[in-house]
Symmetry: C2
């Protein structure tokens, strides 16, 4: 199976989104798509007279923001992606975490920062995804989850992809997890797209992190990647669409 995560920057550009959907629709294996949010949510937040608040790239989700991200992620983006996939002959079915209890989460505890209605994933319903895949459907997960007590939660899409891959691997499936984003892979030099690190072990990652070569938004992404490696994903790759198509990008492997 394949779990493909497409990030906000892939979604923001209609051309790259369509290429990514071509790629997903063309996969031969049963596949799950997980999509991020993109800048559309911030546009709608602003258009409705609110102020987007992000701390270290993570959105602070008050009640009004939760309503808007639910509209944009679970409504606009998810349904547009599903309709586009359907037109490509891919029998996609869009899901938030609430649908069929696909992804359950808990509201993030308030620490130094109160992220509001942000969800930390507690369980992915692999049996549901399995059943939908057996029915010939390709699940498309948006980054909205629920706590099973009626509360929707805004949730990191990389984490949903990781926990989905982990849950499916736990069911005995061979799972290839692919994070598709705007860069060709994990780079040694962020300004040099040719400096792709083709393969990364946890030890190598720890060293590069220590020396500051890998920093910022790549850290949570790689933490997610190595969690999937540890939990038995067959293959974990980070890269741009062209690299994923050609077997390139950065491969995260066990130590």
């Amino acid at each position: 199976m394949v779990v493909l995560k497409i990030g906000g920057n892939v979604i923001n550009n209609p051309a790259t989104l369509h290429e990514a959907l071509d790629y997903f629709a063309g996969l031969i294996e049963p596949a799950v798509l997980v999509h991020g949010g993109g800048r559309r949510a911030s546009q709608v937040i602003t258009a409705m007279g609110h102020e987007p608040v992000l701390i270290d790239g993570r959105r602070v989700t008050d009640r009004a923001t939760l309503e808007i991200v639910t509209m944009v992620y679970a409504g606009l983006l998810n349904k547009d992606i599903v309709a586009q996939l359907q037109s490509r002959g891919c029998n996609a079915i869009g899901l938030s975490g609430a649908d069929g209890n696909a992804v359950q989460a808990t509201k993030r505890p308030v620490g130094k920062i109160d992220y509001g209605f942000a969800g930390d994933v507690t369980a992915v319903n692999a049996a549901l995804l399995d059943a939908l895949l057996r029915l010939g459907m390709q699940p498309v997960l948006c980054p909205i989850t629920h706590d099973h007590h009626g509360q929707l939660l805004n949730t990191n899409a990389d984490t949903i992809a990781t926990e989905t891959a982990v849950a499916l691997a736990g069911q005995g499936h061979g799972v290839r997890l692919q994070y598709c984003f705007e860069l060709p892979g994990v780079l040694k030099d962020i300004h040099d797209p040719s400096s792709i690190i083709p393969q990364l072990t946890p030890q190598h990652y720890a060293a590069l992190r220590e020396e500051g070569t890998i920093a910022g938004g790549m850290l949570p992404k790689l933490d997610n990647a190595f969690r999937a490696v540890d939990a038995g994903a067959t293959e974990v790759v980070i890269g741009g669409l062209a690299e994923l198509r050609q077997g390139g990008g950065t491969r995260c492997v066990p130590g």
Copy 2:
């Protein structure tokens, strides 16, 4: 099986929405919920600086309006309803027409009025609904469909409920179709809530329509109801939640 349609005015009021969800979650039969839009879409359209346009109660759906109703119906309302049902122990799964190709439609031809991206239902995927029900899930349909060529369409929820009941009846299921709205039933005198017509045949309906006793928004609702009666729905009832609970409301029966 039950197909329950809840209208916009039921959704607009959190108290009546919660009562309707209690009722749906408490149904013993396999059940499909179809929800309308409510005034929330118009609020968001206005908040985003557009002007809601309705002709005879039907929304004119230009491209910006389509995006907003997709956000509100498929995102905000559908996911809130699904999360609320999940919290009641009802394993709801929200679907737009694009999801699993649940409800296919064609863009309404431009006649005297151009309704824009309005969809006329062409097919309900009863096999999908059947499969989800067999998996122990309760489908929750929002009034957004697709044309299978990548275009989402704004679609009348009464029609979706009717065509869902017709499609399930066509699969050999006994189907009870219930339209839940803000009135206790079809009324002889719109100003007298006690003037419920308990039973209506097509002949009786034609006569009341002729004399003007039934008019306005009740006409498309009753046309939908009698289409389901004709197509073999076991029971078709229109009423308020209290009446549906108690076996009251207006029962549409064959002539």
